[in-house]
Every structure is written in structure tokens, then in C-alpha cells.
């Protein structure tokens, strides 16, 4: 199982629809301060089912919707779609390709879908939880989060291993 592509639209600084295609192996993302690199990490964290705004550096869930720029009005919704190659069948679903999508409207309404079929956030979380991807304590290391591995309590380090196992 691996990531095939990530489509971001209206999420944080991605006012314009953007698609990143991933290969097996190493993908490196570079750019200046404030260009949007960590926002890509936030987009993946979000579409995989993150709950609560603080995991995404915000204070309200609405903070992930493009807030506008000097020549650009704010948008009304944020949408992220992650397409995963499932040819090894790790995800318990009968598709070779699995597209997970999450949308948030400024009204506060959310939509979720798997391969175009509407579902609940819980369905996305459950689909992923057995594949070693669902919770991302250790698969996604956010900026400045590396030292937490060492400064954490011993019980928290245990939890990392338990979740990975």
C-alpha cells in the first residue's frame, strides 16, 4: 500500500486546486519559510481523520479554510482527497485504488467519502486503523515534534509501540 496522489483545494494556503503525485521511494518537498510545506502535512493529517483544530495548529476547525489574501477572497470550503494504492489489499475494502475525501464548509458542515461514496468520519478512521496508518503518532512527524519522542513520558513511548504493533 502506498500513497498515489494528494489533491488539495481551499485548504489553508492552497486556494488553487493542487495535486501532488507520489511515487514509491522518497519524495522531498522544499520551499521557503511560509510557502505551504507544513500545510501539506496538515492536509494529510486532516484527511486521515484528525479531530480537533489543535492538531492542525488552529484554534477552530474553520481555520483550515483558505482565509483570503490581499487579492483573493476567502473561500467557502476546504477539500482534501488522498488516493491510496491498495493492490496489496492492506485496506479491508475491495478496491485496488482507494480515494479518501474530506470537505469542510464554513457553515461547519462536513462531508466525507470513500471512492465517491459518502460515509462518516468514523468509517475513514476504521478503514485505516488496521493498516498501520490510521493513527499517526509515529507515521507523521510534524515540524518541531521530533524531540517529543524523548521528552515524552515512558508510558507515551509505550503507546507509540503499541499503536505501531
Amino acid at each position: 500500500m502506498f500513497l498515489k496522489s494528494l489533491e488539495i483545494k481551499g485548504f489553508k494556503s492552497f486556494a488553487d486546486r493542487t495535486e501532488l503525485v507520489f511515487e514509491p521511494g522518497v519524495t522531498v518537498v522544499v520551499g521557503p519559510n511560509g510557502s505551504g510545506k507544513s500545510n501539506i502535512v496538515d492536509a494529510v493529517t486532516w484527511v486521515l481523520g484528525a479531530q480537533g483544530p489543535r492538531a492542525l495548529r488552529g484554534s477552530k476547525m474553520e481555520d483550515v479554510i483558505f482565509a483570503g489574501g490581499p487579492q483573493r477572497a476567502a473561500l467557502g470550503r476546504a477539500q482534501v482527497m488522498l488516493t491510496i494504492d491498495n493492490s496489496t489489499g492492506i485496506l479491508p475494502i475491495d478496491f485496488v485504488e482507494v480515494a479518501i475525501s474530506r470537505t469542510l464548509y464554513r457553515s461547519g458542515e462536513s462531508e466525507y467519502s470513500i471512492n465517491g461514496a459518502p460515509c462518516r468520519l468514523l468509517d475513514i478512521q476504521e478503514l485505516l486503523s488496521d493498516s498501520g496508518v490510521g493513527r499517526q503518532f509515529h507515521t507523521i512527524v510534524g515540524q518541531g515534534q521530533l524531540d517529543a519522542v524523548l521528552s515524552a513520558r515512558p508510558e507515551d513511548r509505550r503507546a507509540v509501540i503499541e499503536e505501531a504493533a
Partner: protein, 156 residues
């Protein structure tokens, strides 16, 4: 449940020692259970000692040394219980040139085991890319992404 944890811990501990010997050549590292009698609730302590030093207390290690020890722990978990992909955001910020080289060698080793996405603003980290994305924001507050496929990433 306890056996699942015990087995996982032993695998991670085994790989930790191996990986630390590469990240700290000549040094050593070990994971230990805070309460081996109580496998249900025990926590995990990390010991790491760079070559030529006798200080083992993690808090006294330098910023770069702590980053290397933390990366050792994470990659030991990656190897013992693999996930399909990993996303690492600027984890090499505290590393000097030599440690960055060792870290990139580790990435090289892992590229066939898992899919890795590395976020960085350092040029040397670009060398290991199979695929490179450049992110910009041209004063409009809107991110733009440009991709460049590398046909031959530098093998470290």
C-alpha cells in the same frame, strides 16, 4: 495483548541498537522497560551514548544528539512494525553536516522498505529525492507547487 507488546518491544529494541550504532558510530543505545515485572503497564526509557562520551543522561545530550537519538527510536519502530508511508517535517533541523549525512544514509536504506515524504528547507536533503516538489507563495498568500522528477537520486 501483553505478548503482542512484548514481542513488538523486543523487535524495536533490537533494531534500535542496530540503527543507533549507525547514527552514533562507536556509540551505543538501548531501550529498556521501566518496569519489566509489569508488562501490562510498563513504560519505555531510551538510553543513548555517543562515541567517546560517558554521559548517558538524555537531557544532557546536545540538540543534535537528541535529534539523532529520537530518529533512532522512530526508525527502529518503522523497521520493526512497518507502516506503508512516513511523512517527516524538517526533522533534520538541528543536525550538523556529518549527522545530516548519517541521517540521509538511513533514508537511503529505508527507501525500499517504505514510502517516505520529507519536508525540508535544506538543500542537501534534496539529494535523496526520487521525486522533488518545490513549493512557493508569490506574495499572493496562495501556495503554488512545481514538481521535478529526479531520474537518479544521489545515492549517499
Amino acid at each position: 495483548i501483553v505478548e503482542i507488546f512484548e514481542e513488538a518491544f523486543n523487535d524495536v529494541a533490537h533494531h534500535f541498537e542496530e540503527i543507533i550504532s549507525k547514527l552514533f558510530p562507536g556509540g551505543r543505545g538501548r531501550l529498556r522497560l521501566t518496569d519489566p515485572e509489569n508488562l501490562l503497564e510498563t513504560g519505555i526509557e531510551v538510553d543513548a551514548r555517543p562515541a567517546g562520551k560517558s554521559v548517558r543522561k538524555l537531557s544532557l545530550l546536545s540538540g543534535g544528539e537528541r535529534s539523532m537519538a529520537a530518529l533512532g527510536f522512530l526508525f527502529a519502530v518503522f523497521r520493526a512494525r512497518p507502516s506503508p508511508f512516513y511523512l517527516l517535517d524538517e526533522v533534520e533541523a538541528a543536525l550538523d553536516d556529518l549527522n545530516l549525512h548519517r541521517f540521509l544514509e538511513l533514508i537511503d536504506e529505508f527507501r525500499n522498505e517504505s514510502q517516505l515524504v520529507l519536508i525540508t528547507h535544506q538543500k542537501r536533503s534534496m539529494d535523496v529525492a526520487d521525486c522533488l516538489y518545490g513549493v512557493t507563495m508569490q506574495g499572493s498568500g496562495v501556495t503554488k507547487v512545481v514538481s521535478q522528477k529526479m531520474t537518479d537520486p544521489v545515492r549517499i
